[in-house]
Structures are given as C-alpha cells and as structure tokens.
C-alpha cells in the first residue's frame, strides 16, 4: 500500500461501477447496481436513502463486512493503490479494518461488550493497533476519553457499559473507533438510537474530532436534519444506485432528482399544519429482477415516457453536482418542481443575497433547460 501524502480535498477512495450481488435461495439480488463515487480526503460525506436502498451494503464494502452470500460482481474500489474488492482473507482486511477505516455502529446499547470494563475495551484497540502497552496504553485511553467529552476518566476507565447512559456509550464507541487513529471514519446512523438533545451533542463531538484527527468521515443516515448539520457533500441512494450527488447546499436548496424532491417534501418540518404531508407512494423496485429504465419511475408522480425504457446517465448540473434523471436532458419537457422545493430554493437565494454573496456563480454551468423547468 502506498503511504504517500494525499492532500486535503484530493481523491482518497475512488469507487468505479461497483456492483454487489447477494445469492438468496438460488436467486440473485442486485444490492448495488454500478456505483461510482470519489471520496475526498478530509471531507464529510453523507449517504442518504430509505431502508433497503443499499447504503449499508455500500459502506460494508469498504470494511469487508458483507455477509458470506454476497460478492462483488463488478467494478473496483481504489484506496491508496489497493483495490479493496480484491481483498479476500481476514489477514489482508485486518490491515485496513480498524487501522485505516473505522466504523461507529448504530446502536450503542449492543455494540459494547457488557462483561468488560470500558477501559479494557478501548485499550484492546489501542494495544492491538498502536502497539502500546501498560501505562502508555492507559494514558492513550485517558486522552481518548477526554477527546469524546467523558470527564473523570480514571474512574470511568474501570466502569462497565451498564453504568453509562446511551449518549455516554456512544461516546465510548467513538473513542474505540478513534483508538487506532484511522484515516476514514464511517458512522452508520450514529444518532438514531439517541434523544434529540444528546444527538446534537454527539454530532458536535464528531465534527470537532474530525478536525482534530483530520478524519474523512462517511455518514450513513436517513435523517436529513443530521445530514444538513454535518455533511459537506451528500449522495442520495435509491435502489442500489446513487441518484444524486452534490454539495450539501446544492442537494438541499437546488435538488434535481424527483426522488430527492420526494424525500425532502415528505419531512414534517416542511409540512403545513392541517394539510396532507407529501408521501411517496408505492414501494422500491424488487432488486431480484433487472430494473428497466429509471428505478424511481414507478413512484414518480410525473414520470417521463423514457423513464420506463432507458436508465438515465449522470447529468452534470455543476462541476460538483450530478443527478441521474432524464429531466436534465436538454430534450426533456421539464416538470414543475414541488412547492416545498421551490420555497427552499427561494429561501436560499434570499439568504445568499443577504450575506452579500451571489449564487449566480453557479447559474451559467446549468443547462438552459433548468431555467425552463423552474
């Protein structure tokens, strides 16, 4: 593995046409259908999508954690000159897993060992990956506990998970993940199991530590509020594919894909009291079968004819913003955006004007069609 310096903002992991299949009772389930994405050093990327969209399968590929009945059926994941899809043995993976890429699981209640002290569990990781022993390891653990905002670390070191609240346990899980100074931190729904007030605190800690440890973080979540809080870039997944990717502002204030519109519109935060909340009808396509055309077409309230025939390519909206929808093709008739989305966009334009910045810098890069659609 090359250990050369990758500067902040340069591509750290390059994923090309990644396809991943599961074999279930003799049938093949296409969990990922050709994902391409570059993850840049130092950024925080959020992957959003409903359950079953493949977001967890996707990041499990970075850690080699997928189930036995799954296999990569195409594409590559290049990380520092190494193709992660080619790794097979546990020995090869142990170089990467934990040491280079660490993960925080969803539920802090089940991801700690109830029979071992907190200190033991953190120092296990420190000893294994950093080769520290005895007092040195203990000191490293104290420092980690301080980093995640657990005071009184000497007493806490000897305590068991049951003596910690949910938020405190999640801090311990973060400390374990950081114990071997990873380069990439994957947070799988880090706050879903927590209360709102605790959620905000944990996200604050994650943001602070990202700077301190120069981490590249990948968040998996279905909570768009969390995404808005932490992410620099957002990738929206649907039925095993990325349908839209862009900077946080682009995806929230100027979304292009009908699925992103639908996700945003169905949030109660944007709903109007007394009125029906927008809800996405139908169910995602069955991934046991080949998906023809645009995977979202059958649930899209205003599909185009071509959506049922041919899968759209990734269209470029701006150099950082891409979306997989035929609406961006110059030949498309365009569709009226939902009210909520227009309102978000207006609000953004206003805010930008107030701040003295102009968003017009983005405008020329968009196609003429876009103007017509709004």
């Amino acid at each position: 593995m090359e250990d050369n310096d990758i500067q902040k903002g340069e591509t750290l992991i390059s994923i090309k046409d990644l396809a991943f299949d599961f074999t279930l009772r003799g049938q093949t389930l296409h969990a990922l259908r050709g994902i391409s994405l570059d993850i840049k050093k130092g950024e925080s990327l959020a992957i959003v999508g409903e359950s079953g969209s493949g977001k967890s399968v996707f990041v499990s590929n970075l850690m080699g954690l997928n189930a036995q009945n799954g296999h990569v059926s195409g594409g590559s994941i290049m990380y520092r000159g190494l193709d992660l899809t080619k790794l097979t043995t546990e020995k090869e993976w142990s170089e990467i897993r934990g040491r280079r890429i660490a993960m925080i699981m969803q539920d802090p209640m089940t991801s700690l060992n109830p029979l071992k002290t907190i200190g033991w569990q953190i120092s296990e990781a420190v000893e294994m990956h950093r080769g520290l022993n005895g007092e040195a390891a203990k000191k490293a653990v104290y420092e980690l506990l301080g980093d995640v905002g657990i005071s009184n670390s000497e007493r806490r070191y000897k305590q068991y998970p049951y003596e910690f609240s949910g938020g405190m346990r999640q801090r311990v899980v973060i400390a374990i993940a950081l114990a071997c100074k990873p380069e990439i931190l994957i947070c799988d729904e880090p706050t879903t199991a927590l209360d709102v007030t605790i959620q905000a605190q944990i996200l604050g800690i994650l943001k602070r530590l990202q700077e301190k440890y120069e981490l590249t973080s990948i968040y998996i979540t279905h909570d768009l509020g969390v995404v808005a809080d932490v992410a620099d870039r957002v990738a929206v997944m649907y039925a095993g594919d990325i349908v839209e990717v862009g900077t946080c502002n682009e995806v929230f204030y100027d979304p292009q894909h009908p699925y992103t519109w639908a996700l945003l519109s169905s949030l109660p935060q944007l709903g109007i009291k007394g009125e029906q909340l927008y809800s996405i009808e139908g169910t995602p396509p069955n991934l046991f079968y080949e998906v023809h055309g645009d995977a979202f077409a059958s649930r899209n309230p205003h599909p185009l004819k071509i959506d049922f025939v041919k899968c759209p390519p990734m269209f470029e909206v701006t150099p950082t913003h891409f979306a997989r929808t035929w609406l961006l093709d110059p030949r498309s008739p365009g569709v009226e955006k939902p009210e909520h989305i227009k309102r978000l966009n207006e609000k953004y334009q206003e805010l930008m004007k107030k701040n003295g910045e102009s968003v017009s810098g983005q405008e020329p890069a968009r196609t003429a069609l876009e103007g017509a659609a709004i």
């Binding site: 409903e50 604050g204 279905h222 909570d223 509020g225 808005a228 946080c248 009291k273 909340l277």
Partner: protein, 313 residues
Amino acid sequence: MSDEGNAREKLVEVDNISVQFGKKSRPFTAVDGVSFDIYKGETFGLVGESGSGKTTIGRAIIRVNPISSGEIRFAGKRISGKLSPSEDRQVTKDIQMIFQDPMSSLNERAKVGYIVMEGLYAPGNDCTNEEREQRVIKAMQDVGLPPEFMSRFPHEFSGGQRQRIGIARALVMNPKFIVADEPISALDVSIRAQVLNLLQKLQKEKGLTYLFIAHDLSVVRFICDRIAVIHKGHIVELAESEKLFAHPLHPYTQALLSAISQPDPIAEKNKKLIVYDPSQHHYENDPPVWTEIEDGHFILANQEEIEKYKAEL
C-alpha cells in the same frame, strides 16, 4: 380550534397524578404530580427525552401502570383505581393504544385477521362471527389495507404496513381516544409521512382524540394542537403548538427546541445549542407551582420566575 375556548368538552382529565415504581419503602417516582386535560377531537402531544416519564403517563391512562395518587377521569368518569366490571369493559373499549415498534408488537404466530379481531373476543363483546369479520374488514379498509391480507402473517408485511395493522387493531374497537406511543419513530422516513397522514385522516373521519407521545419535536409540531413538555416526571410547560414554538419560556423547552434538526444546511450549521442546567432554578425556599401564565399557556415556575417570564412575553 382555539377559538372555542373553555367551552370545549374535556375528554380526558389527568388530575395531579403520580406513578411510583419499586419497593414501598424506597419508591422511585417516575411521574410526579402531573395534571393536564385533553379536549375532545384534539391531538395532544407529550414530548420529552427517554426516561422522562412520557410513556408512563400514557400507560397510566390506559391503566397498565397503576397510579399512586391523583385521579384520571375519562368523559367525566373516574377511570383510575377500582372500577366495576361493566365500567372496566367500557373504558377498555374506548381507550386504545398504538405501539412504537410494529416489528415487535404483532403476534408473529397469528394471522393478521386474528390480530385485528382479538379485541372483539373479549367478554362483553357478544357479537357474532359474521359481525366480527365485518368490523375487521371495515377497520382494514379504513387504514388502507385490502381485506385479503387477513389471511396472511405479519412477517409478510413491510414496516409501514405493519404499523397500519397496529392501527387497525386499535380502530376495530371503535375507540374514542387513542394513545399513540411514538407511532412513527421506528419507521423509515419515506413511510412516516404515510402513517402521519393516515392518523390525521382517521381523526377527521371518526372524530378521534389522540395522545401523541414522541421525542421528535418537528413531528409533534406538525400533528399536535397542544404540546406538553415533560422533564424528569414533571410537565414543565404546556401550550398550543405554535405558541410553544414562538414563545418557549421554560429553559428546558428552549433547550429542546434548539436541538431540533432542520433540513436546512445553513440554519443547521449556524445552530446554537442551548444546554439545560437544572441548577439554574432556585427552588429550595420557593418551590415551583403549575401556573397559567397566559391564556392556555401553563408553566412550572416559582414566583420569581413567573415575574421574569411575564416580562419576556
């Protein structure tokens, strides 16, 4: 709804209730002297963090957790404590519950038809098999499930559909009042909207009254007419939703509101968190009382604080 004022009919009256767990000699008080009224036809929200006692209050109203003091009245009649068998049956029928996790609240070994029908087998519900079936079919249609699903098992359904089955099970009893304990927090984002819409539709059609228990304030704001904020077994503030969001007075309410996540990156990144510190209250000599500070806006505060809050209004 607010213009009707005091003329509104009170459906549920919770009067100074406390709930204690544990040994008599060393009790743990989960709910401490809580009072509120729920009006007919409204959605009343109960918000708080885990361990604050919100679920305990819901369970006290459906009479799962016995209360240790105070009184709960439903449609003017006392329902806490000992009831005659006929009253007991009536209350069981009138108050139903929707549970949080549709994955674990349905009997995996029973068919959907039986799950929905089970309440109708309770003694006192002497209807014929045919009537039962008709009522189940009606309830299934009300929640948007085709009656054919009656012969299937719960594992064949998605989370959203299972929650609909849970709602149908409550509806089949023709209740007047439903306690919904975090009915959408275990669901996927794309399905939450469907279930929220369904709850609102049913309320309109059947004139139901809801007690909506949740920790997610943005959802509560969307669906509830009035909201009570609960902290460590005490209700600290109660007001109409929009009033509460416009003028949160109690520091704990302010802390909760400041932590709401918005799908708005700019607002979200400039968000200022307020952390609630209970030691800011000086309650040693001047204990707090439950006071109506303006019309329909209640707050738990002592005399000194009331002066301060009044100035803020």
